[in-house]
Symmetry: D2
Subunit: 370 residues, 4 copies
């Protein structure tokens, strides 16, 4: 075995229109010291990949091999790779790895601001690494785990369970951590995509008294309920005003204690501010790509409300680690295991992207080996 | 002595145009149990009073006696009034009092959210109390201190020093507390009115490494420098883009660690978000009245920046108490004592309002007795 | 109906030996404005009551009517009593009330330190109110709810479920709030009495990855498991050293992320410090009475460990309110409903106290009416 | 120039008695990639060095070259060394460097607990590096700055000013950061050694209303006053009870809001708990070496007090960086510039150690070059 198949996403064409992904054969890399080759069992196809296909993210070094969250087995290790407890991995271990790589721990953001998700050196497998960097995406038979990649042994966590959460796990855990939920709080989640669903689950696990979800379509709202939302509302059936009334009905007329925005639509940020009670908190995690501006009234929506609005970008190792620890807890595992997975081969990724884009599938996975 | 003079503000007329204040004579009240009569030495005329004159605040029970921050001596006490240490006041004590009254400590906001500045029961002397409530404003010879009013003995704090800060003291202290400044941080203050100036001073006292101020006009910026701003910029001489460049120049190209908005202009909130570094904090305290909407890009300005934006409304007793404690500290007192005061008689308040509105005076005081 | 029966605890005798409680008939009070009479359905007998019997608490105005946590129906209301949402109660409402009364919201601790559980004015029904204050304890047919008492309507919360938690609910919620548990943390609870059991449950509900409990006897540890402890250890079967080894075994050799001390034994505080990982947190909530000193090594146990140790005293309305909100959540209710209740009549309280003291019953309730 | 002189500390002898330091000549190292040679201008002799001489620290790889905080010029650079802003250093730059080296940013403490001062990989120049690691201490003509050492350019910060604070700067800043001082708080500092003095200064700079210091001898207390302590008490002249009375006198009978322990005596930790008000905070930073146990009453001193006690270990780059930023602020620089420095040659270090041990000098510096 000296080569492996991988899907290459060319990025949008000169006319800005999406171009299809192609399957290519790559030579397997010579391993550097303290690196490894991961044989991919499952990799995720998520909304970010649709954005990537459509060229809506900046700084992407097309062509790339997509797939930022994957699970597999360590096929080969050169040198030593350890987990955070200092225990070395061995070939055959089933692991996942943090897609964020090269956080420098040397710059002002890492060391002074302690905001490592804003480190300018960081690179993300499947997003800001391209084929020039080697086998750096999960839609492939093998991934090259470069020196410094942080892996976690997945003993006790079924691969399907982990991939049901996928990249939404650390993202939503980070958002919920930042939401500072108190016991008994009413949490409103805007959006019922993967991040919204995981935000519901983590809010429940954090001690919320009640979780509300406004999203679409109905099928996803069914999942929202399974993840722990007590009340759900289909966004499409309501106006801003009737949505607001609905929130007030379940919050003694005050608005949610905490709102977590997971939609991607700029106006949802304004909605989040308006649907939240005075002195409450809004976490904005859904604005991963640029869809333009929104307006709000700083007197009414922010100052007089004594509101806090917290942007939440990316995740660091702690979020990744803690999310996986939670999957080892049966009451948490039960939530994510309720999500339905769709499997695609490497040759079917264009179809998978279309299914994710249309909302037809809640969680699409690539199965590179048969 | 059975009557006292007081200024009555009628509120805007039917045509929404401001109407002048008038001087009237009022009978002095019968004191209820545990109430007192304060002989006013000085009362403040601030920007809020201009808003009141012009009818730009909601919920004001015109006609009112303005003047929310005042200092004077206790002329008469009926029953017992104690400070927070349980020491009773005696007639002749020089005191000030918290303008916020009737915070209920019984409602959901007070007891569960612990956000007492959003208590729906709270009333403010000189703003949301009117003449129907008695002598409840400071532009008067006497103020009726109702049961439950919280006074502070001002031994050791000169009246002029205290009034130089006036209502901006607790407001700005609250904002700076909420700004979570770290040692060495660069703090950007937008606005050079009284709240902006006090925000500069408290930022300095909190351990900021550097304070920047963008404001106007030049005379106020001179005060900004005296309060501790290392660099100042006249707002009027610059475009948003050159203002941004100016901030980046003093922040290693990153933006301020913390920005405190004290302007009143909605667009300043958007500016604040853009002038702040990734993972920094914005406190919005200047949007006390409604001047309409502003727009921003939630992807660029909030989510990807991992920014926190914190509205800051009003103040509670702790802010008032701590601000006065700080005035007992010589290095702090030196800052506020640099501000210039203008004195007006009760008959001159319309002129005083005009001077405050035009920015001609930085701090106008009413002197009711000669 | 003009009189009601109540149990009177005389306090220890001149020889410091406990004296038995007696049943007495009291006239029902004339209601002041905005007060009420509660017909008691159930009242709690807890470890504090054993301390009271034995004279181990300071500041108790014997003779008293014990019973600080109770549930019942509003028999009579004079004037208006509202919940925190401003909704008036009506006669016949099933309610509980916060045993802490007269928090003054006027003193330095309430207003400046914002540490209202240290307010010197506060009084506790059944503990620091005595018969001189009227029907102020729950081991009685009726309780006099004085003006200012804070009630909660218990619609949707079965009386048995609420009393299964009883006073441990706000106490443990406060402790867990103060423990600052992060997702996936390992929480060690020392003690398996009511507070320890509720601390286990709230830790689970807060997102702990794993809860460990060291307690005794075996029957209570069985409850610890039902409340969510993954591993349990009988204190009596082990030495400090083997207890430490046990904790290290489940924490990758580091010690617990968070330890919550709920035992009452001073040495347990030292144990808590030693069983916790570097940079972890210890909450001390079990030292409600004075059992003397303990010693520790500040270099090894505190400074080099970068440890935080947090005393936790009493609870305020927010803890009480949030705890009851959590009982409305089915996954939380399921935990407390697993606890076994023992019922006693008013005539059997001496027996009940003996059963609580011996650990024979985990939760004893007085049923004043038949 | 191919060799450099350095002081070697042999560590205590077989009889546990301190042995004198000796001067030796070392070959200058071949520089690895991205390393540098620092020509030492000044290095510090502090209390830790006395502990090192006397063998009171664990894990020290004797013989060592002491001197953990130093300032000098970059004599030679191989490859590239950048500051946290990515700006490369050049030969001739005057710099200092963080003595903590090799924090791994890969282990559980670094990445999950985010408690990098407990990283097991970290090494400290002059303390846990020995001569086997090369020129790794400041009592030398040259220091070898290994790859990964973090330097700061000292333009605008006089060498004497920086060394007046020395290692106490990041230590005390970390302690004060952890003390969570609020505006107007009364801060009690126990101890008047270098860490205590810097803790006084940072407390003042953080917005304390008043700083008290209990220390000894009188000369150091004179410095305490210069650093900003409003009231001072000579420890030696008082009993625990009269010390307590003294604290209560300046704190309205409540105790300090915050106490920072900087003494090294275990009993001072108990004192700190007793001298602090209910619901206050104690930071323990003085217990750097093991001087045995202390005892306290967990009911009275911790639980009923609702106290927080926070151990504080070491410092990370942020504390070092922020401390130096503060030295660029004139009002802060004025504080440390009031401290008196004593200079010693490399041949005089044994005398310097004796002077530091006896308290004869507050801040001793080694001047390796003449």
């Amino acid at each position: 075995m000296t080569t492996g198949l991988a899907v290459v996403m060319p990025g949008p064409g000169a006319d800005s229109r999406p171009r299809p992904c192609e399957l290519r054969e790559f030579p397997l890399p010579e391993l550097e010291a303290d690196s490894a080759l991961l044989k991919v069992e499952l990799s995720e196809i998520c909304g970010t990949d649709v954005h990537l296909r459509d060229g809506r993210l900046g700084g992407v070094p097309y062509p790339i091999i997509p797939g930022h969250v994957s699970i597999g087995t360590l096929e080969r290790i050169r040198g030593t790779i350890c987990d955070v407890n200092g225990r070395p991995f061995v070939e055959g271990d089933r692991v996942t790895f943090l897609d964020v790589h090269r956080t420098c721990h040397s710059c002002w953001y890492c060391l002074v601001a302690k905001a490592s998700t804003r480190c300018p050196q960081r690179k993300v497998y499947g997003i800001t690494y391209g084929i020039a960097d080697g086998l750096t995406g999960g839609w492939a038979e093998y991934i090259y785990l470069k020196p410094g990649v942080r892996c976690i042994r997945m003993d006790g966590v079924p691969s399907d369970l982990y991939m049901a959460g996928g990249c939404s796990l650390p993202t939503a855990l980070h958002a919920v951590e930042r939401a500072d939920i108190q016991f008994g709080d009413t949490v409103l989640v805007l959006g019922s995509g993967p991040v919204g669903l995981s935000a519901i689950a983590f809010s429940v696990l954090r001690g919320a008294g009640r979780v509300l979800c406004i999203g679409a379509p109905d099928e996803r709202l069914t999942y929202a309920r399974r993840m722990g939302a007590e009340y759900i509302l289909n966004f499409a059936d309501h106006t801003p005003s009737t949505r607001s009334d609905w929130v007030l009905r379940y919050t003694d007329g005050r608005g949610a204690d905490v709102t977590i925005e997971c939609t991607g639509a700029p106006v949802a940020v304004t909605d989040a501010m308006r649907f939240t009670r005075d002195a409450g908190r809004v976490v904005v995690v859904g604005q991963y790509t640029d869809h333009g501006e929104t307006s709000f009234n700083p007197h009414q929506d922010l100052n007089r409300k004594h509101l806090e609005v917290r942007g939440c970008w990316g995740s660091d190792y702690s979020h990744f680690h803690r999310a996986i620890e939670m999957l080892r807890v049966p009451r948490a595992a039960a939530l994510w295991s309720s999500l339905k997975l769709e499997r695609y081969t490497l040759s079917q990724v264009n179809e998978a992207l279309a299914d994710v884009a249309s909302g037809k599938t809640i969680k699409a996975l690539v199965v590179p080996h048969r």
